[in-house]
Assembly symmetry: C2
Homo-oligomer: 466 residues x 2
């Protein structure tokens, strides 16, 4: 797909965007460093008190740009909603980023994660590229166009602070404050990553089902010399039951699940094949520490990660774990920890039922307790918003973006799909995996910031006219 | 099977055994309490220094009875060998008991485990019935017959102190001190238990194979949102591989293993059926805390415990175990902890190879490390020693014994079979499961001590004449 460049792009680029960047990049870097100093780790409850001061600091950046801001509270961490009205004739766009970050305890950090440093054209610090930097480049793109009197859609921005911990309260925030939101024509998200060195538009995200699988067959450990072979070993049974769910090649074998998968279009398969041709398998091997893969074909691997559900056994409770020791005692109450990554269109409740049926066919006493579930997301790639996104990447990053899927989850997106029915989700990446995304020594390249700024400017310019 | 009562039994019983018991039972109890005061827990290295003083105390009891004694050292815990020569024309009998005990940390103890108490006709304390009490009643039976000038075989007694920790050095002791041992016509063991309230002769014991099953597919935990479905989850693979070894009904399914099982004779099946008719299923349910069983038929349960190999998964290493928490990280190096109980005639090395082949058929990278292996034992029940044992039980306990198997292992027995080839093993029980065998509030009933004393006297009298 090739997008259409904005007719005045060259002029806007040279006379408006470049001068703004030359004048404001230092400010943008200072603001990013200011935001990084808040250790907004949402997975750690003792960091939750960082969220509101952080959002207040963001608000203090946005208000001079003309945004009205409001903190939206929840039983968990809050979000910040900011609104910029440009013209009643223009559509509304909702922009999402998140201000919380991953933990930063990896020993490989060479800087202090929450004391940012500018070095060699990069801002180092936890949250620099995920997702505070991309939030700021987008924000400044809006401000630049607005200052220059260029056409902009009406804009609402929402900054979540629970993305890295599963967006548990985000749906509740949307519901509670529904009246504060306009109906967006589309939703722009910049919390995704490049495909290697290629700009990328993510059009598929997976959902996630987390569950405990339990079986209790007694009330005490038993001596296998006394009753081994006569008393049911619930761990033997769970092993047998779990083996029915996934085979040694990683294919989900729960009856019904694969048969009910939504079909994948020929167009999507062709797009995946194009992306597979760009895919750096050696880099994946390096990034995973030379992990053994189920296939050595990029296309097969991408299909597995993007298009097929997964079933993973992560661990057990109630079993022996002491290194090097094997006692002959039989367990009596065991639990398995499993997750499934679900593709868009799979209903977690339906899959849970199919999983439960599959396990209980081995032993009716097996129970399944869902600890969490989210749906996958799919953005059709044949709409004008996607065409605008393609053109924006070409304009900002200088090359056509790859359409990519992901095995991961952005918890807010299914909530957007639920609340703002029909509004296309557009996910434009500014981050590089190689810049320490979810990893030590996270950094945001100033070059990515500049190009992300231009990409977002082009995209928003296009939306004003749509 | 019915044994033949010794022709002078009534007279010997009334004129020799009863008077001895009446005069000596207090002494026997005092000696038992003295031995219990040594906390000879072989599973605990900090208790190993109890073994030699304990064996010296036993030696001090035996020497006045006419035994020559010697402590046999090993790299682990020692054994005591005691020899009583009666007549060059008579056969040699080797008698085995053990002087080490189980740990005693169960909160249900109402007495202090190593401060014995005589109460209500029972001696309470750890080791009272397993195996110090039966050792003493056997010893006094010898002494009683010897004092009375009645015929006895030549006797060697060996007391091990590593039985409860797997008899790791027992074979080495037999080999190192082989020249101290005469060639026994048979070996008498009293370290087994009644079948409920029925005296029992154990003719089958299982072997035990303990192994770690490992698979490593990478060098670091991976994020299932990044590479889930593409990177091999070694825990998924182990689950699949282990599921090939045993089914949900507890049947071993490793190719070749069941096909190569030694056949079970019709006579043995008929004997098992007779014992099954005595079997108290309700008591088994109560003893196991109402554990769910693979069958509700006594015969099927006994066949499972006695005649069929088992495969048990006990636990895992390298997996998530935190209660209630499921992280999406994929493991990269996991181990399963498994045991197999083997029946007599199964070769642990052969089974290990079959197990390895079965697992590697699922993934060639799976490795199996054996942590320990012992063979099962089988005593033919159609020899004169067994006939003598049956008659002895009838004489001493007043009822015909049941022939029973066990899922458990007595580590010394395969070593006896190896070193003293062809010497039948005769296992005569004096202990009741319900008296806290391997459990809290272990006790030895004085009535069991009296009857065990008489049973052993009858058995040894018979052997002198064989």
């Amino acid at each position: 797909m090739t997008g259409t460049q904005h007719p005045n792009w060259e002029q806007i680029h040279n006379q408006t965007l470049e001068p703004y960047l030359n004048a404001q990049l230092d400010t943008m870097v200072q603001q990013l460093m200011q935001l990084i100093r808040y250790p907004s780790i949402s997975q750690k409850p003792d960091h939750w008190d960082q969220m509101e001061p952080l959002l207040n600091a963001v608000s203090a950046i946005m208000q001079p740009m003309g945004f009205e801001t409001e903190i939206l509270q929840s039983p968990g961490c809050p979000s910040l909603l900011a609104t910029l009205r440009t013209s009643p004739e223009r559509p509304w766009v909702l922009i999402y980023n998140h201000m919380d970050v991953q933990p930063a305890e990896e020993p490989q950090w060479t800087t202090t994660p929450f004391e940012p440093e500018l070095r060699d054209g990069r801002v180092y610090g936890r949250g620099s590229t995920d997702d505070k930097g991309p939030a700021l480049s987008t924000l400044h793109a809006i401000h630049c166009l607005q200052q220059a009197g260029l056409p902009l859609p009406n804009i609402q921005v929402i900054y979540e602070t629970e993305e890295e911990s599963g967006s548990k309260h985000f749906g509740q925030i949307l519901d509670t404050y529904r009246d504060r939101f306009e109906n967006p024509a589309s939703i722009l998200v910049s919390d995704t990553i490049f495909e290697g060195e290629h700009p990328a538009i993510t059009y598929r995200l997976k959902g996630l089902l987390r569950a405990e699988v339990s079986l209790t067959t007694g009330t005490q450990d038993l001596h296998s010399g006394m009753v081994g072979g006569a008393a049911i070993n619930p761990l033997n049974v769970l092993v047998q039951a779990l083996s029915q769910c996934v085979d040694a090649q990683g294919h989900v074998t729960i009856p019904g699940v694969m048969a009910e998968l939504p079909p994948v279009s020929e167009a999507e398969r062709a797009s995946l094949q194009r992306t597979a041709a760009l895919f750096d398998l050696a880099k994946l091997k390096a990034d995973t520490g030379q992990a053994e893969l189920y296939s050595d074909q990029a296309q097969e691997l991408l299909e597995r990660i993007w298009l097929r559900p997964t079933f993973e056994v992560h661990g057990f409770e109630g079993v022996q774990t002491e290194p090097g020791v094997i006692k002959t005692a039989l367990p009596y109450a065991v639990k398995a920890k499993i997750t499934m990554r679900l593709v868009a269109g799979q209903d977690p409740d339906r899959v849970l039922q199919q999983l439960t049926d599959c396990l209980q066919a081995v032993h009716p006493g097996i129970t399944v307790r869902m600890l969490g579930a989210s749906r996958g997301c799919f953005s059709a790639v044949d709409n004008r918003f996607m065409q605008a996104a393609v053109a924006a990447c070409q304009a900002g990053f200088g090359r056509e973006p790859a359409f990519v899927g992901s095995g991961g989850t952005i918890g807010a997106l299914p909530e957007f799909e639920r609340v703002f029915v029909g509004a296309p989700l557009v996910l434009i990446a500014q981050s590089l995996m190689s810049d320490g995304y979810h990893a030590p020594n996270e950094n945001f390249q100033l070059q990515q910031m500049r190009n992300g700024f231009k990409t977002m400017a082009h995209y928003l310019l296009s939306l004003a006219d749509l």
